[in-house]
Amino acid sequence: MLAPMVPPGHEGAMALLDTTQKLSILADAAKYDASCSSSGTRDRNSRDGKGIGSTNGGGGICHAYAPDGRCISLLKILLTNSCIFDCHYCINRKSSNVRRARFTAQEVVALTLDFYKRNYIEGLFLSSGIIHSSNYTMEQIVEVARSLREDHDFRGYIHLKTIPDADPALIEAAGRHADRISINVELPTVGGLKRLAPEKSEQRIEGAMGQMRTAIEDGADARSRYRSAPVFAPAGQSTQMIVGADAATDRDIVHRAAHLYGRFALKRVYYSAFSPIPDASAVLPLRRPPLMREHRLYQSDWMIRFYGYAPEEVGDAADPATGMLPLDIDPKLAWALRFRDRFPVDVNRAPREMLLRVPGLGPRPVQSILSIRRHRTLRLEDIARLTNSVKRLRPFIVTADWRPLLLGDRADLRPLVAPRQEQLELFAA
């Protein structure tokens, strides 16, 4: 293994850390990135290769789960946690007192391969603090991916976080080696970004995301015409925003996410509930937002992506005064309670879009209902077999042998259909 090169201006003490110590520091620094997904790429294997690695297009694999309930799929680390920026929400900001460390490109390559060979991971998610310049840092990130792919014929998953200001040629190189590229928008509002990440600019971030979209689409287009065309970030691009550090309401966040999905053809928008970080900047709220808030935002994300709700409709599920989604019930149920005149829905007749709006019916049972009703009419017991809790569903549906009474007028509907309080405590902050 090569001795780590210490760039001028960086403490020589860093070189004394061993790999495991560096790993602890640089994984600790990376954990505020929510994404660990290894899905959405093309099928690959190593049967005709010289190295190791495979991916299966559909789903990723979670090789372990941490006690925070999160999936560990990738080796998620920073190349270095030194940074010339001073973003308040970030543990690695210039003015923070955290211990700094730095990996060489070759150390990351070796660690990725060592972990992969033992079946600990699906691949690598590499990000970095910015040292010297955006271009210098991006070169290092790209070098790791290049070496894995070219020197070791590594065919596992690679996710690279790119730096918005870096040279487009470097970002292009990143896309050639990586499955997924991400650029974080960081905060849902421009005001929040200005206050908490004064050196970052929304324009530059969105500019880079726009270029990335074009590059990904050009790459896919070229592949559809020439089989030999290089692959470019086949798992697309994603982004992340921090929830609870600025004044954005849930409605603002849902609208921002919808805008990002549409404008940059993102695969995913990740939310990270701001959590207190060691050596926090004083500009941040001291208390974390309830983790349930993050969960509700992900649910609203699913409503848009899989249930056919328009972003404005999800906004309608939020409290009109505060713009916040209810924490005690999920946003789909909140929407149904607000628009009671759309219910009950006849499971034997209603179109797919309407079935998907019934609280408690997911895409799978809806598909089953559609295929069963081609041959026979459904009864309440059928719905009971297809779902987890027919009791909560009953007020919203009509079947051959069931029709709810007085749905729209019942004042006590919410306690009937809302999950019981004890269950919530598990997630409460």
Binding site: A64, R70, C71, I72, H88, K194, P320, T322, L426
Partner: protein
């Protein structure tokens, strides 16, 4: 009774061949006994040859469900699948009826087998042994070992590896795959030099501020733990989590005077509730960033809305007089409102003050919390019901709490008194001087409680 002998527990092809012939001959499911290897299942069954007939037709999806369900450890699986196959001959659309109990049962078997395979891909751990060979010990629940060989060959093609299980083993030398006998845990290596780094990674990537043990256990049940080295760390990580999170909060710096301006600037564009629309502007708090006293009022009034500064109207003037009498230096107080926009009802040419509702107070609480966080006052005073609701998060009658310090949900406390506008709206027969004196006395008492008799 007819006996069908299958080669092994995972002999899916054997089952398929026999089931096809049996179904062609319309042999009822009750007349078939499925037997794996030489274990006799029914002493009176016989191995009679099968009569020939037209091959049964089944949807492609059935084959996929059967290929998985047949690997389940449940002994009745072969018979169950054959039953379903027979029903499919008379009910060709059976697979479209997901509410059919028998189909659901078979699908559940298939689902459990798929999950077991998925968990094998995920949780199997290789350990390196000399000569650069990698060996894993894994305990699958179902008969899935050979069915998953392809996954590991595709992934670790250029590696030499063995997978040992209690039901059999697989060995890959880079070119050919060999089937081996059942193994014991002791046959596998007990450690690997890279495990230390992996455990360090597992401990570091965990965020102690968000412990969710149930979510972890749902996806990684304890039955898998004994073959995963990193899980040994789980108890200590959970035990230490609360402490580490508190450490994060404790080490948070106490003051940041500079940032108050940028917070104010951000608040100018606040759209957290609809009150911004009719109001002229956000009226943010005012005072020195290192103030020792923070006083929270209700909301800006007509004059404050126009001036963009808190406490400049009639109530503000009364307030200035009262704190001066209470011995508090106004220049060292940070004053702010619970709601930062003026809420009013237009009446003719005048804008009449309207009480903010709970939703508006809660929406604006975010800003008040930020101000508190930055100012970190030694003494916090809530004036009126709105301020009390904002700081405590619940409705408390001012009359009850007045003159005392109420505890706040995030620690700390707030002294309670009336809002100065209350003094302006007293009925004509009330003793205005006495009420004013009482207001002053509340403020003085709060001051003395924090700073002693000599003043701020």
């Amino acid at each position: 009774m007819r006996r069908i002998r299958l080669e092994a527990e995972d002999d899916v092809d054997g089952w398929r061949g026999a089931a096809r012939a049996l179904a062609a001959a319309r042999v009822p499911a009750e007349d078939v006994v499925w037997q794996v290897g030489d274990h006799p299942t029914d002493l009176f069954a016989e191995d009679a040859p099968l009569p020939a007939g037209p091959a049964p037709r089944v949807p492609r999806r059935f084959l996929s469900i059967a290929a998985h369900a047949a690997l389940h450890r449940q002994p009745e699986r072969f018979s169950l699948l054959y039953r379903l196959l027979l029903r499919l001959q008379s009910q060709p659309h059976l697979l479209e009826d997901e509410a059919d109990p028998q189909l659901r049962q078979v699908e559940q078997l298939a689902r459990q087998v798929r999950r077991d395979s998925h968990k094998m891909h995920a949780f199997l751990r290789f350990r390196e042994v000399p000569e650069g060979r990698f060996v894993a010990w894994h305990e699958p629940e179902h008969h899935i070992l050979r069915a998953n060989a392809g996954f590991f060959v595709n992934r670790f093609t250029n590696m030499k590896w063995s997978i040992l299980t209690p039901g059999g083993s697989l060995h890959w030398d880079g070119e050919t795959l060999l089937d081996g006998p059942p193994a014991r845990r002791a046959d596998a290596p007990g450690a690997d030099p890279v495990e230390g780094a992996w455990k360090a990674y597992y401990a570091a990537i965990f965020n102690p501020a968000r412990v969710m043990v149930d979510a972890m256990l749902k996806e990684m049940p304890k039955k898998y733990w004994r073959n995963m080295p990193e899980t040994a760390l789980v108890p200590e990580l959970i035990a230490g989590a609360r402490k580490r999170e508190l450490g994060m909060i404790d080490t948070a710096p106490r003051r940041a005077p500079v940032s108050l301006d940028s917070l104010r600037e951000e608040a100018m564009g606040c759209r957290r509730c609809p009150l911004w629309q009719p109001a002229t502007r956000t009226v943010f708090g005012e005072g020195p960033p290192d103030a020792e006293i923070m006083i929270v009022g209700e909301q800006p009034g007509d004059q404050e809305d126009l001036a963009g500064r808190p406490f400049v109207g009639p109530a503000g003037q009364l307030f200035d007089r009262a704190i001066a009498e209470a011995g508090i230096d106004r220049a060292r107080v940070y004053v702010t409102n619970s709601v930062k926009h003026f809420k009013f009802e237009p009446r003719g040419k005048r804008r009449i003050h309207a009480r903010p509702n709970a939703g508006e107070i809660d929406a604006c609480k975010w800003w008040v919390d930020q101000e508190r966080r930055m100012i970190r006052p030694q003494l916090l005073i809530a004036m009126g019901a709105t301020a009390l609701r904002s700081l405590t998060g619940r409705p408390i009658p001012v009359g009850q709490a007045r003159g005392t310090a109420v505890p706040l949900p995030d620690g700390g406390s707030a002294w309670v008194t009336v809002h100065p506008s209350y003094l302006l709206r007293l009925p004509p027969d009330a003793d205005k001087d006495a009420e004013f004196a009482r207001f002053v006395s509340d403020l003085r008492q709060a001051r003395v409680s924090s700073f002693g008799a000599k003043g701020v």
